[in-house]
Point group: C2
Chain length 344, copies 2
C-alpha cells in the first residue's frame, strides 16, 4: 500500500565495518566476535579483551538487522498513538519509553490521526520490522489490526480504556466509571442543567462512550443533559473557549459543563472569566485528564485525574512480562481520581 517504490538512499558504496573485520583484526573467528559483542558466556577474558580492543579500534557497531533476521526476534516495539502534538499521549509515551529503554528495547512510533485506515497502514509498516510487541492506544480497531497481529503471534497491550474487550491485554481506566462519578458529583453539588463539550468529532470511541455514560447517569439522576457541543476540531484551549461560547449562546440556562479534556475546560474557564461568569457559582466547570496547568490557574480546575505516565509505564511493563508468561486476558485498572478543584 504505502510501498516505497525502490527506495535507494545512496549507492551502497562504503561497506560498514562488520563483525568479520573485527574477527580478522583480532585473529579470531567470526562467531567469537559475535559472542563477545553479545556478552555471551563461554568466552575467555583474554579473547574478550582482544576482540574488544579490535572493535574499538575499528569503531564497530553490530548490525542488528542481520542479528534480528537470524534470531527471528528484535528489540523493536511498535507504539501506535492517535496524535502527539498535544494532549495526553506524550505523557504516556514518556512512561512507555522510560520502561522500554530500561529494558533495552526501541520504540518505533506510529501516528494515526484518529483514522482507522491510517492505523492499519501504520501498523502494517511497523510489523514489517518484526517488532517483539505492540503497544497501542484504545481498544477500537479495524479488524485487520487484530488479524495482522495474530499473524505475527506477538503480544499487544492496549492502553487508555478498560471498558471494552482487549485483543490480549489492556491498561487504563474506566472511562464510563469516570463519567458516572462526574455526573454524581455535579448532581451532588446542586447543578441541575448540565452541558457537555467534546472535540475531535468524538473520533476516539472512548470519548463517545464516556459521554454516553455521562448522559445515561444524568438521566438516571433525573437531571438530563441540557445540551452538548462536539467540535470537529482537535481539542485546544481556544477551541474550548469557542465551543463554550457556542454552547452557552444556544443554551444559556446551562449551569455546569463537563469537558472531554482539560485543554478545552481551561479554554472554557478562561472564556467564562472574560465574560464575567464566575465558576463555580454561576457555572460549574469540570475537565478530564487533570493536567498540571489546571492546578496552577487562579481558579483551580476541577477535573478527572488520569494516570497518564503511569499508564505508559504499566503498558510497557505488561508487554515485557509477556516474555515470561502469556498476558491474554490481563486487565490493569489504574483508576482515576476526581480532583475537586475550585471550578465546580
Amino acid at each position: 500500500m504505502t510501498q516505497t517504490v525502490l527506495e535507494r538512499n545512496r549507492p551502497p558504496t562504503a561497506r560498514r565495518t562488520t563483525l568479520r573485520d573485527v574477527a580478522r583484526l583480532s585473529g579470531v573467528s567470526d562467531i567469537s566476535v559475535s559472542r563477545v559483542m553479545r556478552g555471551a558466556p563461554s568466552v575467555s577474558a583474554e579473547l574478550r579483551d582482544r576482540v574488544m580492543a579490535a572493535a574499538d579500534a575499528l569503531g564497530y557497531t553490530p548490525n542488528r538487522l542481520a542479528g534480528a533476521l537470524k534470531t527471528r526476534s528484535s528489540n523493536l516495539v511498535a507504539v501506535v498513538v492517535p496524535s502527539i502534538g498535544n494532549g495526553v499521549f506524550p505523557e504516556v509515551l514518556d512512561g512507555i519509553e522510560s520502561v522500554l529503554s530500561g529494558a533495552g528495547l526501541q520504540p518505533v512510533l506510529g501516528i494515526t490521526q484518529y483514522e482507522r485506515a491510517q492505523e492499519v497502514r501504520v501498523l502494517r509498516d511497523m510489523l514489517a520490522w518484526t517488532p517483539m510487541g505492540v503497544i497501542m492506544a484504545g481498544t477500537d480497531h479495524d479488524p485487520a489490526v487484530g488479524a495482522m497481529i495474530a499473524q505475527q503471534q506477538i503480544p499487544v497491550v492496549e492502553f487508555m480504556d478498560i471498558d471494552q474487550p482487549a485483543m490480549q491485554a489492556a491498561v487504563g481506566i474506566s472511562h464510563r466509571g469516570a463519567a458516572v462519578a462526574v455526573a454524581d458529583l455535579l448532581a451532588e453539588r446542586g447543578y441541575r442543567r448540565p452541558g457537555y463539550i467534546g472535540a475531535w468529532g468524538e473520533k476516539p470511541d472512548r470519548s463517545r462512550a464516556r459521554r454516553l455514560a455521562f448522559e445515561q447517569r444524568l438521566a438516571a439522576l433525573g437531571i438530563p443533559l441540557c445540551d452538548k457541543e462536539i467540535s470537529p476540531a482537535p481539542a485546544s484551549v481556544e477551541e474550548g473557549g469557542r465551543s463554550t461560547e457556542r454552547l452557552l449562546a444556544r443554551s444559556p440556562q446551562i449551569d455546569a459543563i463537563f469537558y472531554a479534556n482539560d485543554d478545552q475546560a481551561l479554554g472554557g474557564l478562561f472564556h467564562c472569566q472574560r465574560r464575567g461568569l464566575r465558576a463555580p457559582q454561576d457555572i460549574g466547570i469540570i475537565g478530564f485528564n487533570g493536567i498540571r496547568m489546571g492546578l496552577a490557574t487562579p481558579i483551580v480546575l476541577s477535573s478527572v485525574e488520569t494516570p497518564r505516565y503511569q499508564m505508559g509505564v504499566e503498558a510497557a511493563r505488561l508487554l515485557l512480562s509477556a516474555r515470561e508468561a502469556p498476558i491474554d486476558g490481563k486487565l490493569v485498572d489504574l483508576g482515576f481520581r476526581i480532583r475537586l478543584g475550585e471550578s465546580v
Copy 2:
C-alpha cells in the same frame, strides 16, 4: 544447565510466512514475488494479480529486516530528543512524523533526558538498525556522537538552534537573537530591573546561551540583570510559580521577568495574579515558545513564538533532501516572532 542465559523472546517455533511461501502458492519464482511486493517494473499484470492473490490468501507481510539487510538501506529514521513528557518536543515530533510518514519512513524514538551520556547510548542503539538518517535536538553533543554518525555516513539534521555550528545541517531559530529582542522590548517598555527564570538546571545549552545573550544585551542597554533563578527541576507551571516566588522574595525590586519557557511563565503569571501583582503594570512577564495556552488566558501571555511544528517539518524535509544532494552546511532559519500579548 544447557540453558543459555540469553534472553529469548519466544521460541522461534512458528515460522512466519515468507516470500517463498507466496512464490510456491502462486507458482512463480521468489524474485517475482519480491518484484510484485515492491511494485518494481517489468512485471506482467497477470503475474502481479496471481501473486497478490496468493499473498493476500497467506496474509503475507514482507520482512523488512531481510530487505534492508540485503539492500543496505532502511526506511528508519533515528529521532533523538531530550524529553517528551512536556514542553516543545511533542510538537516538533508531530511535524517530523507528518513528513516522514508521508515519505514512507519510520521514526525510531530516542530520549536522552538531557544527558549527554544517555544521548550517546541511545544513538548507538539506534544506529545499530542502520537508519537512513538522524534528526536530533540541539547542536551540543558528545564527540562520540559525531564520530558514530560519520562512521555510518548518513545525513544528520539538528534542530532548535542555529547559533552553533552543526554537524551537517541545522533547522531552527537564533536563540541569541530572540534574547536580544526580548531585552530590547523590556527596555523599550520602560522596565529597568529585569530578572530571569530558567529550569532543567539549564542543561540544554541553548537556554544558557539565550540567557547569556539576554544578560549581555541588558548590560549593553545599561539595565543589568537584577537576579535570576535557575531551577534544577524540569520546567512546569508549578515550578514556574515557585521559582517566581523565590526570585521575588529575594529581589522584590524586580519589575520584569523573562522566562525560559511558557510553562514557567504562565506559572509566574498565575502566581502574580494570586499575589495581587498586576501584569504588566506591577511586573512584566514574558515567556518563550508561544504556547497556545498563553493566548487564551485572561491576560494574554507575552512570549517569543517559535515555529515548533514547522521546525519538525523542515528538519524532516531537509533530511529527505539529503537523498538527492548533500546537505552539509545548510542552515534553515525559521525565525521567531515576538507576541506582545498583555503581560508586558
